[in-house]
């Protein structure tokens, strides 16, 4: 809902096709590409008539923008898959690179650090847009953590197939967050936030996790 609020504040019309479910990444990442295609096909059809599709998370954004073309390579639906990929944007990518907007009129006092979700960072190349947006949030003090670009350990089914490795990676991330003295850790990927929050709470730390859109929606 935060994304909707921000986009409407900027004067856009937002629609949410209720028939949508999932981009299919869990099946794709596990190697079940036929199953992933079955789910992805539906989403492609649902968003056929959309002008622009905005996605809240870097990993879903990457799935559509980067992996749908590969998933549908040589498949009858390849053209539609590529068309959807071309008009889909992760939220910060859309604001900064498509709309050219850096200041969404947000206010959020506090000391925060930003975690780069791997898909957003490496598959979509979005290092700067989230930071540029946060820099314009009134009252927000943004500090960089040493391990900002290091994977938090979520990785989809990896988190439950290899929980000990996943948790170890989460611990490294949380230690780096703690070093900054930040009260909040912000990211553009909810799965990362779930992982980081999960580790922080177990450690009894008071740092709160926030999605980029939550921060930008505050006025």
């Amino acid at each position: 809902m935060n994304i909707v609020q921000v986009l409407e504040r900027l004067g856009h019309t937002v629609d949410y096709p209720e028939a949508q479910t999932c981009c299919g990444q869990p099946a794709f990442n596990s190697g079940f590409w036929d199953e992933a295609r079955a789910v992805a096909e539906r989403q492609i059809a649902i968003f056929q008539d959309a002008e622009i599709v905005v996605i809240a998370s870097g990993s879903c954004g990457a799935m559509v923008k980067v992996f749908y073309p590969e998933l549908f390579h040589g498949h009858p639906r390849e053209t539609e898959a590529r068309a959807l990929a071309a008009k889909t944007f992760e939220f910060s990518d859309f604001l900064v690179n498509r709309l050219g907007v850096l200041d969404v009129g947000a206010r959020f006092p506090g000391r925060a650090t930003f975690h780069d979700g791997c898909h957003g960072l490496r598959e979509l190349g979005l290092k700067n847009p989230p930071r540029q947006l946060l820099q314009h949030v009134r009252g927000l003090e943004l500090v960089e953590m040493k391990e900002a670009e290091t994977c938090c350990g979520f990785g989809g089914t990896f988190a439950v197939k290899f929980p000990m490795i996943s948790t170890a990676m989460g611990e490294v991330k949380c230690a780096s967050i703690a070093e900054t003295g930040a009260e909040f850790v912000i990211s553009n990927d909810s799965s990362c936030l779930m992982q980081i929050r999960g580790v922080l709470e177990r450690q009894g730390k008071s740092v709160k996790t926030l999605h980029l859109a939550e921060v930008l929606a505050q006025t």
Binding site: M1, V4, Y16, E18, A19, Q20, T21, C22, G24, P26, A27, F28, N29, S30, G31, F32, W33, E35, A38, V39, R42, C118, H119, L121, R122, E123, E149, T150, C151, G153, F154, G155, G156, F158, A159, V160, K161, F162, P163, M164, I165, S166, T167, A168, M169, G170, V172, M194, Q195, R197, G198, V199, E201, R202
Partner: protein, 466 residues
């Protein structure tokens, strides 16, 4: 789950619980990152260098027959014996044969991952030859009867105290916590070995087709000594090591050093083009180059993943991999660790036996980002996962995925399930962490967030009504 996967899980569990070791590895790599970045930034364009390096390796690997043939012919023209080895056993037999022929007693070795791959040391020792690893790190793990921890830094997991204790125990040396003294102990031992060894075995970093030479990169000088003094030199070279031209080294040597070790250039980069030539004062009487296939051609046949053969064995991907940093090199249980190991081991040793290495990754992509020759490493992990499922779908997981598809194609059902989840969550809280908890894999070490009171859908509908 097969035995390799089980062993991997146990090792990973053990290593991730060892906080001291995890910390140690992080510290060991901290200096590398700083140096690597310093020397990358000296390049006029590191990105341009990567593009060129990728293109050169593409050319080499995609015309491998031509370049290998040229390489072998030129070597033979200068008096080198070239042995084409289709598999590991062929190499082992050949090297033992050469050693017997020359009545070798002691063999000195410089670092060779291909020799590790085919377990050459074990074979030679069983055949009655003394084999000594001359590279300091390799020597240390050899004394410990351990495999190398990292393909470039074999002993990075050990403290100086551990090494001192090891030397004291195995060599009778004095205890010391001074790295220089420890190095000198090994140096003294090795100097005798270099002078007395009958045969030197090395690997090679590159095989130059244009001039028929192998190129060996090292810092210590042990490879130069291994290949200068003994009567016989055998080099074991993976067929994918080919570079088309001598001039390619001008790019690859600095890139290998920077990406692999955070150095502008490695101390010794040596080209060997034959046995001792007429007029030369020293050098081996016989020079053998063994070209190793050992299933590399199978990887070559997989056009989608063929670029994994572009690997120059720099180790940069290991150095940035969060999985490697937390589970350590030994957990992999293979010669090649880290991301490259996870990509190629299923090809070199069997997909179904080793697919777990491709599964044990969060696909963060740091490896692909850092690879000097732009191998699409993390995507190949996905490809291996897909190939493994296509060859043999795991029945239980297939069921789960089918259920996933069923639900995701039916938004009402999806909504309903999420609603049920909300209702059941308090129940899950009751059994959290116990055997009854369905989310146990997660909740054992992390808290699970409460599902939102109202789903987005519900909020959206409410809004529309207003």
């Amino acid at each position: 789950m097969n035995v390799h996967a089980k062993t991997f899980n146990e090792a990973a569990r053990h290593q991730t619980a060892d906080l001291r070791q995890r910390d140690w590895i992080q510290k060991a790599l901290a200096g590398y990152y700083a140096k690597r970045d310093e020397f990358k930034n000296r390049f006029q364009s590191w990105s341009g260098a990567r593009d060129t390096a990728a293109a050169v390796k593409w050319e080499a690997v995609n015309h491998l027959d031509r370049y290998l043939d040229e390489f072998a012919s030129r070597l033979e023209a200068r008096g080198t014996r070239v042995f084409w080895a289709p598999d590991a056993q062929a190499v082992r037999d050949y090297v033992v044969g050469v050693a017997r022929q020359h009545q070798v007693r002691s063999i000195i070795k410089s670092k060779s991952m291909t020799a590790e791959e085919i377990h050459l040391n074990d074979t030679l020792e069983q055949a009655g030859f003394e084999v000594v690893e001359s590279d300091l790190g390799e020597y240390i793990v050899q004394l410990r009867h351990e495999p190398p921890y990292h393909l470039v830094f074999p002993a990075m997991h050990l403290t100086r105290q551990q090494i001192s204790d090891l030397f004291q125990d195995r060599l009778g040396s004095e205890s010391t916590d001074n790295p220089e003294h420890l190095t000198m102990i090994a140096r003294r031992v090795m100097r005798r070995k270099y002078c007395e060894a009958d045969m030197g075995i090395s690997g090679a970093n590159f095989a130059i087709a244009e001039t028929g030479m192998i190129s060996i990169t090292e810092n210590e000088g042990n490879a130069r000594l291994t290949t200068s003094l003994p009567k016989v030199h055998v080099a074991i070279v993976g067929i994918e090591k080919v570079l088309p031209k001598l001039s390619d080294l001008a790019l690859f040597l600095p890139m290998l050093a920077t990406a692999g070790a955070g150095q502008p250039i490695t101390c010794y980069n040596t080209l060997y083009g034959g046995p001792r030539q007429p007029g030369e004062p020293d050098g081996p009487e016989e020079f053998h180059v063994v070209l190793l296939d050992n299933r590399r051609t199978e990887l070559l046949a997989d056009a989608e993943q063929r670029d994994a053969l572009h690997c120059i064995r720099c180790g940069a991907c290991l150095n940035v991999c969060p999985i490697f940093k937390n589970i350590g090199g030994h957990s992999y249980g293979t010669t090649y660790q880290g991301p490259i190991g996870s990509v190629i081991t299923p090809h070199l040793r069997g997909l179904q036996d080793w697919k777990h290495l491709s599964q044990a990754s969060s696909l963060c992509g740091a490896c692909t980002e850092t690879c000097p020759v732009k191998i699409n490493l993390h995507h190949h992990l996905l490809h291996n996962r897909r190939n493994a499922i296509q060859a043999r779908p795991a029945r239980f997981e297939k069921l789960v995925q089918t259920g996933f598809v069923f639900m995701m194609r039916r938004p009402r059902l999806y909504e309903w399930a999420a609603g049920i989840g909300r209702i059941l969550q308090p129940l899950q809280r009751l059994v959290q962490g116990t055997v009854l908890d369905p989310l146990r894999a997660w909740t054992k070490t992390r808290s699970f967030p409460p599902l939102a009171e109202k789903s987005f859908r519900e909020l959206w509908r409410k809004r529309k009504k207003l």
